[in-house]
């Protein structure tokens, strides 16, 4: 089955050009010009990757992202015309896996999508079953349990957790995590890591404000501990 991409963008010309560029990559592309239309489309036929423009005529991109996240862990890329921190962080907080600022090169877009698709495939954690105190990770099953109860993570969050779990106690710098989880080179945006770590903590920590498992090592990065 061909990879199916849903692109939500109100500007018809951009939408068409992006569709052309993605189809040139061999992907199947569905379009939506507004937030409500995007949610309908997604309900009818879930996509493998969703591109959401923040500025939409009806419901804004953040809301679309949150709505999709309620039912799905599909990789989401937010597209923003403004590269101000507020929009980017708000998009990531809403549940997006990655972001792109306009104007983006089509090569960059397809590289991001490919990286996200790779992420949804299986992950190698080196062990079938990992346990950190009350936190359990089963990479093969793709499940995480906190104190016995299953925790629902998005694919990116899961990937991030498994990456940290692959070498417990070791400090991973943002750059390393960007490269391994997102497929970025050195110049990826460290905020991607920070926001995802924050979201991960709300799910795998009993008290996200005082994390016990996913710990920040100031100035260096993050590590996982029991």
């Amino acid at each position: 089955m061909r990879t199916h991409i849903l692109t939500v963008e109100d500007d018809e010309r951009i939408r068409t050009a992006v569709k052309l560029a993605l189809e040139a990559e061999g992907w199947e592309v569905a379009e939506a010009a507004a937030g409500s239309e995007a949610l309908e489309r997604f309900e009818q036929r879930p996509a493998d990757v969703v591109l959401i423009d923040i500025m939409l005529p009806d419901i804004d991109g953040f809301e679309v992202c949150r709505e999709i996240r309620k039912t799905s862990d599909v990789p989401i890329v937010m597209v923003t015309a403004r590269d101000d921190t507020h929009d980017i962080v708000a998009g990531l907080e809403a549940g997006a896996d990655d972001y792109l600022t306009k104007p983006f090169a089509p090569k960059e877009l397809s590289a991001r999508i490919r990286a996200l698709l790779r992420r949804t495939r299986s992950v190698d954690a080196g062990a079938p079953h990992l346990r950190f105190g009350d936190l359990e990770v089963v990479p093969d099953e793709g499940t995480v349990r906190l104190a016995g109860a299953e925790v629902h993570l998005t694919k990116t969050e899961f990937r991030l957790l498994v990456e940290l779990a692959s070498n417990p106690g070791r400090v991973f710098s943002r750059e390393v995590l960007l490269e391994r989880v997102w497929g970025y080179d050195y110049f990826g945006d460290g905020r991607l890591v920070d926001v995802h770590i924050r979201r991960l903590r709300t799910k795998v920590e009993a008290d996200p404000a005082n994390p016990r498992h996913v710990v920040t090592v100031r100035g260096l990065g993050y590590k996982l501990q029991t």
Partner: protein, 487 residues
Amino acid sequence: MAFRLRHRPLRLRTRVMVSFALGAALLSMVLSVSTYTLARRNFLHQRERDTIQRAYLDAQNVQRQLTTQAANADQLGKALQSVATGSGTYPVIQIPNPAGQLVDQSTNTQFGLDALPARLTASVRDGNPALMRASIDGQTMLVVGLPLPTLRVDGAIGEYYEIVSLQDISQTLNTLANVLVITMVGTTLLGIALGWWVSRGVLRPIGAIGLAAEAIASGRLGTRLEETSDPDLERIVDTFNHMAANLETRIEQDARFTSDVSHELRSPITTLAASMGVLEARRDDIPEGPARAAVDLMSADLQRFQQLVEDLLEISRYDAGAIRLELSEIQITELVRAVLAGQHLDVPVYVDPALENASVRVDKRRLSRVIANLLDNAVKYGDGPTRMEITEVDDHVRIAVEDAGSGVSESDRAVIFDRFSRGSAAGRRSSGSAGVGLGLALVSEHLRLQGGRVWVEDRPDKKPGARFVVELDDAARVARSDEATVP
């Protein structure tokens, strides 16, 4: 338009306080001096009148008791006893005896006839009463001299004097003077206090305006002054608030405009870039010839256009002050090597051994743009970078990019970091090559925001070429003992 303030040697508050103090001091001085003068005159006047009155009575009394025939010291002493009233009054008498000699007597040897001023005695001797203030034995005394015409022998007549001490009056006046001086000092202090209070009242609104202006300058545009009922302040408060509101609107409009322009420009470029991507992917389907050449041209200039728009937007954000730094700790050598790799450049990098694993706290994206722009500049105008250096001078980390071009002339060094300035480099640019002078302007802006700076100098080895040096803020250097443990 700027209002130039005249140079003031003193603060406003000090001046107000000094004025009040001087005013109070002057006023109290005038009052004190006139009080003192009036009191002194009244006291002395009263005392003179009393003294004269009593002296006449005493003189009559003495005159009745004495005759020239009985002019000897004992009699005179007895007569004086009868008039010696109260302390501080010293009568002196002199009368001629039948032999024509003058006999004198006084109740106190200290204040005898000899002590009297000659002018006074001369006047009395001529038959005229006289009054005089004189300093006798170091004390101020009032002296009344009366002729005793009935006691006459030949040309000489009897003389009667009363010396009255003014000691009590001068004591009273001293006390008064002390009281007045204390009052004067008190009034002056009160003046200072009043000046302080008044200046506080005047300066408080000014201080409030200053604080509000400061708050607005630091970005809290919603700051307003509190409404006041004082008609004098009302106008300035209204004007200030009006100005602040206008400023806020203007800045918001500017920000919205930048954001709108940004959005408006980015949308078509996104379409163009995506479409160009499709064309590039199908480049081989386009037959060789004018069409393919046109696509290649468009592709190259689209990138250049995109970069220019990005730079313009970035610089307009600086102008609007809407820049927020994203500081993080990074290894400086890693960053430089990553930028070189990203630019596909192979340039030898000399690294100070102490900095091999050193971390700096910077905005990673902006610092990499700085280095990338300098490398880009070296490629475009300096025949490519030849060497890079990472060193440390006085806790400031320095990153240098050297090229082997024709260098930058002294006159261009100051302007090369201005916007759209290419200096004389424009002369040797091959026509049509990409690039406008925003790259170095952005370098300078990026660094200024992070407390760093950039300059251009000759190559230290004296070979032709330029050396661009970036100096980071010394606060950016992160001292860490375990910096080698970064994975």
